[in-house]
Amino acid sequence: MSDLYLNAAVGGALTGLVYGLMALGLSVIFGVVRVVNFAHGEMMTAAMYGAILLAQAFKLDPLIAMAPIAVAMFILGYGLQRGLINAFVTRPEHTQFMLLVAVAIILTNGQLIAFGPDTASVQVDYALDSYQFGALIIGKVQIIAAGTALAVSGALFAFFRFTLTGRAIRACADNYLGAQVVGLNVRHLYGLTFGIGAACLGAAGCLQLLLTNVTPLQGPSYTLLAFIIVIVGGMGSLTGALLSGLLVGVSEALAGVMFDPSAKSMFTFALLILVLLFRPQGLLGRRT
């Protein structure tokens, strides 16, 4: 029995890293632009469909499709921020939120119209390969997905820590007015940030496609999941998003094994409620 739990936990942790990457995008966007991207999950399913199209047209493995998809998402994200959202940065919070709700509705149903409600997926050659470590059996796709997610996250951390642009973006996050005063083109940097967040989604989407299938109606669930992960981890904390992704992945998997698989999201919601009540700044967030 404990083997079952072990496998579930490890599998959950690996999936959780991909969730973490997805949530990372949300955290970056919120941490800098201070916009709550309610269309997050919908953007991810869009990326997933993009990868599926590439797979169907060019037989591209999602891992390879990650590059063009991430770039495409970056451009879309940048455009969305500068074209639409930018005007709303100074508007009241709920207006921004509703704006993205509208975008989310359009995206979800646009995908529904374009691709239909049935599930779509990509079968890679190594989909059924697995490694065995004693009682532990891990799928090859899971390891690849998790490893890539970690690598991309690491690249993101490095970007923000060591590059000039990355630090400029952090400056905007810390002090909007100050950043403008010292001559930073804040609008451009906001656009970049949203683009980076969207690119994360693109990458995460491709990786997620290795693990599971996609339907347009999953968008809202992913959005909610991303929010829960970010809130549990702490809004604005990048490490928090990753760790929290792990936590949510593991707990979801365990709940699915211990109780009914379809009830596992109940567990995640319960986790959210608990965190909001007892530690609203999240595990690694700072109390404002």
Partner: protein, 332 residues
């Protein structure tokens, strides 16, 4: 601001009277399809009005209002199908249930200072949590659904809410009128003033002696209680309840579209919003079907685009602009 209709010019009162008159005689002049459309319009006008109490008046964004519709619907349906109790008494159970849920959510959120976006997400989480719960609650049908016995359509049994669509139409119309009057009364009362103060600036409100937590709780309780009525109506009008549908986020969003597009915080916003949006969306569906396109999701894309356009170009909604143009505003 254009909230109380004392002081409204005669034009406005006349327009209102005319509108009501048209609605009263509608069943005699329109066909069954339009009648059912009108019922949907009135339903969303009512539900939107109930949601508006929490968000428009008090500034608390609830994106999980389908939770209250669902709870109210299931409560009354349960009383009727399992215990043979008529919906008017079932209503009491429904209101008690939704209000209790509202109190729980409100208490958890406000006690711990959760507001804005976090609160909205909390409401979604609760709604989803309950949805999955009902999916597994086989005694009430689980994901397969709960069905009410559809009685004959020839006799109108108001006590048990079994009857022709016309009966439901007038019930819904009465609910809308009552809700409008109730909300108008609320806004003009101390409660209404305090709610709006909280919406505008909580710190200032507290500095003026307003116990913010208490009044936020009132808002949630009243809003959820009002929404219970919509749930009960829904159960007895449609006669089938599926957790996937009734507790869905899509439904929550549909509820808020009316007030958001019509005008948040106004009395007529939710009504105008519902009355503009529903027929347009339906008309679009019909048009596309006529042309041969029958694809799910078109209506929702339309809603999304409308919402987007309103937020970008008419942030205060259609009603304030319309009122100005038609000179229906309160005198200043």
């Amino acid at each position: 601001m254009k909230l109380l209709f004392a002081g409204l010019p005669q034009r406005a009162l006349a327009a209102l009277g005319l509108f009501l008159l048209l609605l009263l005689v509608a069943p005699w002049v329109v066909n069954g399809y339009i009648l059912s459309l009108l019922v949907v319009m009135l339903y969303f006008a009512y539900a939107g009005q109930a949601w508006n109490v929490m968000m428009g008046f008090t500034g608390q964004l609830s994106l999980g209002h389908s939770l209250y519709v669902g709870l109210g619907a299931y409560a009354a349906a349960m009383m009727f199908t399992k215990f043979g109790i008529n919906p008017w008494v079932g209503l009491l159970v429904a209101v008690a249930t939704t209000t209790a849920m509202g109190v729980i959510i409100g208490f958890l959120a406000f006690r711990f200072g959760i507001g804005g976006v976090y609160f909205a997400i909390l409401t979604i989480a609760f709604s989803e949590f309950v949805r999955i719960g009902f999916d597994h609650w086989t005694w009430l049908g689980g994901s397969g659904g709960l069905f009410l016995p559809v009685a004959n359509l020839n006799s109108n049994d108001l006590l048990n809410l079994r009857g022709a669509p016309v009966m439901f139409y007038y019930v819904m119309l009465a609910m809308c009128v009552a809700a409008l009057a109730f909300c108008r009364w609320l806004l003009g009362s101390r409660l209404g003033y305090y709610w709006q103060a909280i919406r505008e600036n909580e710190d200032a409100a507290a500095a003026l002696g307003i116990p913010v937590f208490r009044y936020k709780m009132f808002a949630v309780m009243i809003s959820s209680a009002m929404t219970a009525f919509a749930g009960v109506f829904y159960a007895f009008y449609y006669n089938n309840l599926f957790p996937e549908q009734i507790f869905s986020m899509g439904r929550s969003i549909e509820i808020i579209l009316g007030p958001m597009i019509g005008g948040l915080g106004t009395l007529f916003g939710p009504i105008i919003g519902a009355f503009v949006l529903t027929p347009l969306a339906d008309g679009l569906s019909e048009l596309l079907q006529w042309v041969g396109i029958d694809v799910p999701g078109v209506k929702q894309v339309f809603y999304g685009v409308c919402l987007l356009l309103v937020i970008v170009f008419l942030p205060h909604g259609i009603w304030p602009v319309l009122a100005r143009r038609l000179k229906l505003e309160r005198e200043h």
